[in-house]
Amino acid sequence: MTLPDISVDLAPNNPRELRLANPVIPASGCFGYGQEYAHLIDVQRLGAFVSKGITPKPRSGNPMPRIVETPAGMLNAIGLQNPGLRDFIKKYPPIWNDWTVPVIVNISAETVEDFVEMAATLDEVPGIAGLEVNVSCPNVNAGGFCFGWDADMTAEVTRAVRAVTTLPVIVKLSPGAIDIVEIAQAAEEAGADAVSLINTLVGMTIDTRRRKPILANQTGGLSGPAVKPVAVRMVYQVAQGVSIPIVGLGGITSLNDALEFFMAGASAIQVGTAMFVQPTIAMDLIDQLPVWLQQQGCESLADIIGSANPRFRAKLAVESAESAAV
């Protein structure tokens, strides 16, 4: 008996498509460039993976300490340590080009021009299946105000990236926005193929012996199970407001967690912090998901996407009726 279909296309409106054999994706910054885990798991079986965020110029990242554990979570302030666009292109895509797993490249920048430079340069590089645009970084032209906190700035970045690449574009949303639905809609209207959410929340912990913040950068990004309820809520809300696929993430450590995101309305999920803790987690999810779907009598993953979100399902029904009528 064949198992339910769990494949998914994250860029249905894009001729280049972003077809994944399964909806399980290690998250940016939590899977290096893919090689790191190759001894532990069969990387090629992943739906896709997102590489560490790259920037136009090389960055050595923040001083140490860069990570600290928090209750059921962690803070990180890696500071986007990466070799920069040029060395990145030389080093990794050629390796990925021989792989079967689709690789999504996460790009970060502090100006729209830098985003454009990276997107344009990566467009034709073999070995890259899509871009994830990280709008959670501060916009230096807006006084450190984060792109992803503002609908107009998010739209501007998305539009500019869209204009210079035919690659599938996923816009990765920041949970710091007041109304994340508005931001997601802005990304959709500006041409994003999909949105992913959430990036980290901003947090701090203080070393009470040394009387200073533990992280050298003072603040860091909060991730892990602690943030999961915030992430599920945002996916649920965004699912009611956009028609492009949603990639859900934030604190997933188990099949039940992944199901929460699917039922909220995500078409795929990413696993970040949990990769550090349980390197096999992505493989476990890929194995468990079809078995669970079969036990539930589902024919495919689509049966449960948004199944806890009646307003999303109603919207979906209207949309498919409309497209059938066309």
Binding site: G29, C30, F31, G32, E36, Y37, H39, L40, K52, S60, G61, P63, M64, P65, R66, I67, V68, E69, P71, A72, G73, M74, N76, I78, Q81, G224, P225, T253, T273, M275, F276, V277, Q278, P279, T280
Partner: protein, 262 residues
């Protein structure tokens, strides 16, 4: 052998070195034969049904036990994670990722090795000393602790090792820091190996500075950084070296002291 994820069983627990315990944990077939001194295991410090503490904790291998497919580690109940591990009982199961990291390396020409250990930093140096003695090398092991009780028992070291101790309170050996003792051994030592708190490395470097010509003897140091993944993916554990940022979980934890950018 590439790193593996495995369920390990606690085979023995013995008090050792202050409030720390020497814990014998089972490892997959062959692993105990391959471990190099300085490598570590990454242990999930919690049981079923809880997500806190979240992250694994690294522990250096103190001694491989190929005869019963296990290794010893030295666990000091410092905070929440190590405290949990230290509270486990014989027969308990641990979720372990290992072996990780590179190890100390003894130069082929080296005859006289100086170990400088602070607290549980003694763990990898015990293994290194055992290996060196087996190779017929001469080992002097300097050990520092707050009190006599916080010192490694000499029974943990091969008999031929010269064991010299220092205590902060003077309750045994030299009254002061272990790094005070080190300069005397510089003319003798072909290589120095050290593990312990970062403060100790800094004072060791300062203490040895005037005695070292052309950076001889070379000093290898096992750096301690908070770690998340342990396999080079998160870049949370980097050490600033003169060649740039280095992920200490894969490129370290052992470094040439002179390469570190302090």
């Amino acid at each position: 052998m590439p790193p593996k994820l495995f369920q390990s069983e606690i085979l023995a627990i013995e008090p050792e070195l202050g409030d720390a315990s020497r814990v014998t944990i089972s490892v997959p077939a062959g692993m105990a034969n391959e471990v190099r001194p300085g490598q570590f295991v990454h242990i999930l410090p919690r049981g079923e049904g809880t997500l806190d503490p979240l992250l694994r904790r690294p522990f250096s291998v103190m001694r491989p036990r190929p005869e019963n497919q296990s290794v010893d580690i030295l666990v000091r109940p410092f905070g929440r994670g190590s405290g949990w591990i230290a509270r486990q009982k014989i027969g308990a199961s641990l979720d372990v990722l290992g072996l990780l990291g590179n190890g100390f390396s003894i130069n082929p020409s080296a005859r006289n090795l100086l170990m400088v250990a602070g607290g549980v930093g003694a763990a990898p140096l015990v293994m290194l000393s055992e290996e060196a003695v087996e190779k017929g090398l001469n080992v002097t092991f300097l050990m520092g602790g707050a009190t006599a009780a916080a010192l490694l028992s000499p029974s943990q070291l091969p008999e031929s090792v010269e064991y010299v101790v220092a205590t902060d309170d003077g309750s045994q050996g030299h009254h002061g820091f272990v790094t005070d003792l080190a300069p005397n051994y510089v003319p003798w030592a072909d290589q120095v190996f050290t593990c312990g708190p970062e403060m100790m490395f800094r004072s060791l470097r300062r203490a040895l500075e005037p005695h070292r010509l052309h950076r001889k003897p070379p000093i290898q140091v096992s750096m301690e950084r908070s770690m998340a993944c342990g396999i080079g993916a998160c870049l949370g554990c980097v050490v600033e070296t003169k060649k740039g940022m280095s992920a200490s979980c894969v490129d370290g934890p052992v470094y040439d002291l002179d390469l570190i950018d302090w």
